[in-house]
Every structure is written in structure tokens, then in C-alpha cells.
Amino acid sequence: MDIVVCVKQVPDTNEVKIDPEEGTLIREGVPSIINPEDKNGIEEALKLKEEFGGTVTVLSMGPPQAEKALKEALAMGADEAILLSDKAFAGSDTLATSYILSCAIEQLDDFDMIFCGRQAIDGDTAQVGSQIAENLGIPQVTYVEDVKVEDNTVEVKRRLEDGYSVLETSLPVLLTVLGEVNEPRYPSIKGIVDAHSGETEVKKWGANKLGDVDQSKFGLSGSPTQVHDTFVPTHEKKAEILSGTPEEKAHKLIDKLKEEKVVSK
């Protein structure tokens, strides 16, 4: 069972403070962590490896500092870690990010499964996993909370809003997992030592490692998303007392509701 896990390094939102003036996240000095659900992805991959043998390769696109997240993944027990880092990747939105990750996965030897987290706690779009599966033309199941592999099929429990469904699919497959899927192990101290002593290593891939692909789909040029504004929604409570006879009040209320587009004309 050869498994790829996509991990994103994210700011530890428990430690993030919001700039009260700008309404933006203060990222400076905030420790970075592996996106929590990606840790669940790593754990699930390691468990399957322990059961069926094979390898676990961890992949991340990000700035050079993201190497730290990959070292942690190695310390958890991943066999290989690749950091995709290049100026050409800068400014990638989710479409470009998943394209780059897909290109990298195609450079790897065969794989049986890909794990992603359901969503990253900073970007929060939950798009990257699905887009990778589409790019690679393989089946995908999102919101996975339980995985069972037998022969060449996978049975997964997929969380729905009001229950769950059980699905069966063939390999290879991409799964995006929820925190409920398992309890990630702690990186071992020996693993941490190995990752820092050169015993295990984070490979660094630039754009030139991704083969003959359409580089205009990387970075800003490959990112159709336009961010016009970011803001923290304010919750204002306003109360207005309508006056008049009951009939007048009813008319005023209808007008207000139309004005606020709560009801249509």
C-alpha cells in the first residue's frame, strides 16, 4: 500500500490574534503547525502501512519554513517527505495549489491512496483535496470518518449533516478525512532526532522537478481567484420600534422586510 499524504502548514489558530484595527490575522510570531486534519491523514496512512506494508510519502507546497511541518511528519513515521517550494508557486490559489500538488504526485511512483485533510484551518475552502482527485482522474470521497481496506477495495464511512453513508470504492482513491477518523500519534523523540540529524530528509522540489507541465497554471497566473476584501463580519444589534395602528405597523414591517431583501416584492 503506497500512500501519499498532502499536508499544509498553517498558523496555530489557538495562538492567532486579530488586529483590532485592520481586522486581519496577526501572523507574526504565531507558531506554525501541521493542519490538524492533515495529521489525521498521516495517522491513517501510517496505520494502513503498518497493516499492509508499503510506504507513506508526505507532500507539502509552501514556503521554505514548511520544512518544519514535514520534519514532524517524518518524526511521526512517514518514509519520505517532499517540500514543493518555488517562487513560481507564490500566490497560488486553491486551483493552482491543487494543480501543483497533482503534478508532483504524477512524478511519484504508483500510489494506491491519497489522503488530504478535509479542510485547512486558515484557508478553509476544502477545495484542494477534491481538485487533486479531479486533476488525477481518480475517485474521491470527502468527509471520511472511518476507513477499511480489503483486497483492492476501500470501505469508507462518509459523514453527512444528519447521519453518515457507507461507500465502497476501488483503488486508487483520494480521501479527505475528518478529525474523528483517528487519534494521531505523537511524533517520536527518536524520529525528531533523525529528522534533524540527516538520518531522514525532506526533499526539496522546485518547479523544474514537475516535468513538462503548463507552468502558467502555477502561482498568480494560474489563480483565477480575486480577493477584493477581507474583513471580520460585525454583529450589530439594532432594534427599531414601529409605531402606529396595528395596520400601519404591519405595512411598515412589510416595507422594511422588502428593503432588507428578507422577502421579495
Partner: protein
């Protein structure tokens, strides 16, 4: 000179701190009450390689430095002093002498599984009448054929009820005084070796402290640790390392007491303002913080010195003496700043206070540390 932790040390600190927060903190108050040894967590610590941190990888350890080990004990002790000493006694007092004096076979048979956390270790020097005066050992070991026969009692042995392997000291030749003491590796299930009942203590309640009773306990000759007659030197050298662990335990306890206090004084209001607004509170907090940082410097320095290969007895003694003193003072002042609430079991402060006291006693009392420090200057 660089006071920054390395990336490796930072990651180890973060992982242990996460572990302490998620696995240790939730049970700390409970096991203080029930006195139950935290078997499950000790197993998890073994899996994460937290029980052989400074042991070289070839002997099953993590192969990290002594500072990483000290940081680990510190982080564990922030949540629970018991977890701190379980890790420390196992690592410093059982694994370390095997690294230093164990034969190839002993390392293979005992050190490897100990360092991987598959087995738990303990260290037995103290006897009813040999405490500070550790040289007056009454336990004897007589060679009989291929075995040493041990007779006598050890008391106050940390990890005793949970340990698989004990490093035990005994007199092989009374006429030679300290040069007649030898070290042995004794397996828990050796016939003739039994445990007394669990001691009822003031603090570190869940650490399983017991008497060891040796009654014609036959230990194979191969389990002699180091040379015959070198036991006292091994015992003392081992305690030098252990003191770094105890100092780190004291440091963790003190830091936690301060962290709790900083939070509390900002929330507690008297005379219509937070008690943190009183200058006395601010001064107390300043004293606590400064002393803790000073203690940390001594502890980290001692850990660093151990890895340099030379003597580090004085550094370890200073670290333990000062850090344990700071732990007592800080926990006492922390209760004071919590007022009556600090005296209640609902808050963790009174447990920290009870746990702090032991750091002034075991692995050489504060007086012993002063003897070591003074002795090194006045030699």
C-alpha cells in the same frame, strides 16, 4: 554563546508539551487523589520514545542530548510532578548507569528494552540506616557459584511497584568500606526479591514508592554492573545525572505555579480591582519569574555540561539545590497570591506545593548538594 534552543530541541519541547497538555494534565489531579500509577501514559511515553531520550540510538534510545531530556522532564512536571520523576528515575537512574557501565550483553538484554520504554527501571541505594550516609550499606551480596546472593532491605524506591529492572547496590566486601560496594541488575521477578507496600506520601502520590526486600535473592553473576567494588562510584556518578532530572522536575513545578498565578491575579478582584494591580503582587511575580529563569539557566547549563564529557557534579548539584529551593518558594508564594482558593484542592497550586518539597530531598538532600558544591571549591 547562544541561548536559543536548537530546532530539534524546540520540536521536542513542543511535542512533550502537547503530550503533557493532552494526556497528563487531564489525569494529574485524579492520580494525585487515587495514588494510581499512570501505566497507560507511561506506555504512551515509551511509544513516543520519551523514556530513553539521551540514550544513544544503538542502545534503543532516541539519541538526543541531555538538555532535550531535561526539557522533557520540565514539560511533564508542569502538568504532573509524578510523571516527571517516573521519566527521570527511569532515564537517569536506570538507563544511564547501563549506558556507562553495562556490558554489551547487559545493554542488549536490559538497556535496549528500557530505552525503548518496553521495560521500566528503578534505582535502589537508600536503606533504613543509609540515607544521606549512603556508604553505610547493610544489604549484602555474596558470590556463591555463578550467582550473587542478595540479602537486605532498600527503602523509598521510586517506580518500585511498576519497574521490571532494578539497579541495586550492596556490600560485596564489608572490610573495604565504600570500595566494597557493588552494583547489580535485578529483575523484578527474581525469586527472593519482594516488594513492601506502597508508601503513603505527601506528594508525587502516583509515583510508586516502596521498600525492596531481598531474602536469599540469587542474581546471576553476569548481572554485576561494572566491576566488583566500584558500586559506590557508580551510584554517586549516577546520582549526578539524576540531579539534573530532579532539578528539571522542580523547574517545571515552579513554572506551572507561576503560570497559574499570573492568570489568577489578573482575574481575581479585591477592592474593586484585579489583585495584579497591587504593587506587592507585581513584585512577587517579578521575583518568581527572575528566580525561575535563573534556575532554568542552571539546569540547562548542567545538562549541557553533562554532554561535554567532563565532571558535571558541581553544576548538577547547583542546579538541583537552586531549582528545588525556587520550586518551594514559588509554590509557597503562589498559594499566598491565590489566598484561600490556593489552599483548596480545586486549584492545582496546593498539589504543586506538595510535589515541590520532594525535590529538596531525594537524590541527595539540599545539604548534600551544598556539600558537593562547597567541597568542589574547598578541596
Amino acid at each position: 554563546m547562544d541561548f536559543e534552543l536548537t530546532d530539534q530541541q524546540k520540536m521536542i519541547k513542543k511535542v512533550v508539551s502537547d503530550f503533557a497538555e493532552k494526556e497528563v494534565e487531564p489525569i494529574a489531579a485524579e492520580i494525585d487523589e487515587t495514588c494510581e500509577f499512570p501505566y497507560e501514559n507511561v506506555e504512551k511515553m515509551g511509544e513516543a520514545h520519551m523514556l530513553g531520550i539521551p540514550v544513544p540510538q544503538e542502545y534503543g534510545g532516541a539519541g538526543a542530548d541531555t538538555l532535550s531530556y531535561a526539557i522533557t522532564v520540565e514539560e511533564l512536571s508542569k502538568a504532573c510532578g509524578t510523571h516527571g520523576i517516573i521519566c527521570s528515575a527511569h532515564t537517569s537512574l536506570a538507563c544511564d548507569p547501563l549506558v556507562k557501565y553495562g556490558t554489551k550483553e547487559q545493554k542488549e538484554k536490559y538497556l535496549k528494552p528500557l530505552a525503548k520504554g518496553e521495560l521500566l527501571g528503578a534505582y535502589a541505594l537508600t536503606e533504613p540506616n543509609a540515607g544521606t550516609d549512603a556508604a553505610s550499606q547493610k544489604t549484602t551480596a555474596k558470590l556463591d557459584g555463578d550467582e550473587y546472593v542478595l540479602n537486605g532491605n532498600k527503602i523509598f524506591i521510586t517506580n518500585a511497584g511498576a519497574a521490571d529492572v532494578f539497579i541495586v547496590f550492596a556490600m560485596t566486601d564489608k572490610s573495604k568500606g565504600t570500595r566494597g560496594i557493588s552494583g547489580f541488575i535485578v529483575e523484578a521477578d527474581t525469586p527472593g526479591f519482594t516488594l513492601g507496600k506502597k508508601e503513603d506520601k505527601m506528594g508525587i502520590n502516583a509515583s510508586d514508592t516502596r521498600e525492596l526486600i531481598f531474602d536469599d535473592c540469587r542474581v546471576p553473576k553476569e548481572n554485576l554492573l561494572g566491576e566488583e567494588g566500584k558500586g559506590f562510584k557508580i551510584a554517586m556518578g549516577t546520582l549526578d545525572g539524576g540531579r539534573i532530572g530532579v532539578a528539571a522536575q522542580a523547574l517545571g513545578i515552579a513554572q506551572r505555579a507561576l503560570d497559574e498565578t499570573v492568570q489568577y491575579v489578573k482575574e481575581r478582584e479585591q477592592f474593586n480591582r484585579a489583585i495584579s494591580k497591587f504593587q506587592n503582587t507585581q513584585f512577587k511575580i517579578a521575583e518568581m519569574e527572575t528566580k525561575i529563569q535563573a534556575a532554568r539557566s542552571l539546569v540547562y547549563q548542567a545538562a549541557f555540561a553533562k554532554d561535554q564529557g567532563g565532571s558535571f557534579s558541581k553544576e548538577a548539584a547547583m542546579a538541583k539545590y537552586y531549582a528545588s529551593d525556587v520550586a518551594m518558594e514559588v509554590t509557597r508564594e503562589a498559594i499566598q497570591l491565590h489566598g484561600g482558593y490556593g489552599y483548596m484542592k480545586e486549584y492545582p497550586i496546593e498539589r504543586l506545593f506538595r510535589d515541590a518539597k520532594i525535590t529538596e530531598i531525594y537524590e541527595g538532600t539540599t545539604e548534600v548538594q551544598k556539600m558537593v558544591i562547597g567541597g568542589s571549591l574547598l578541596r
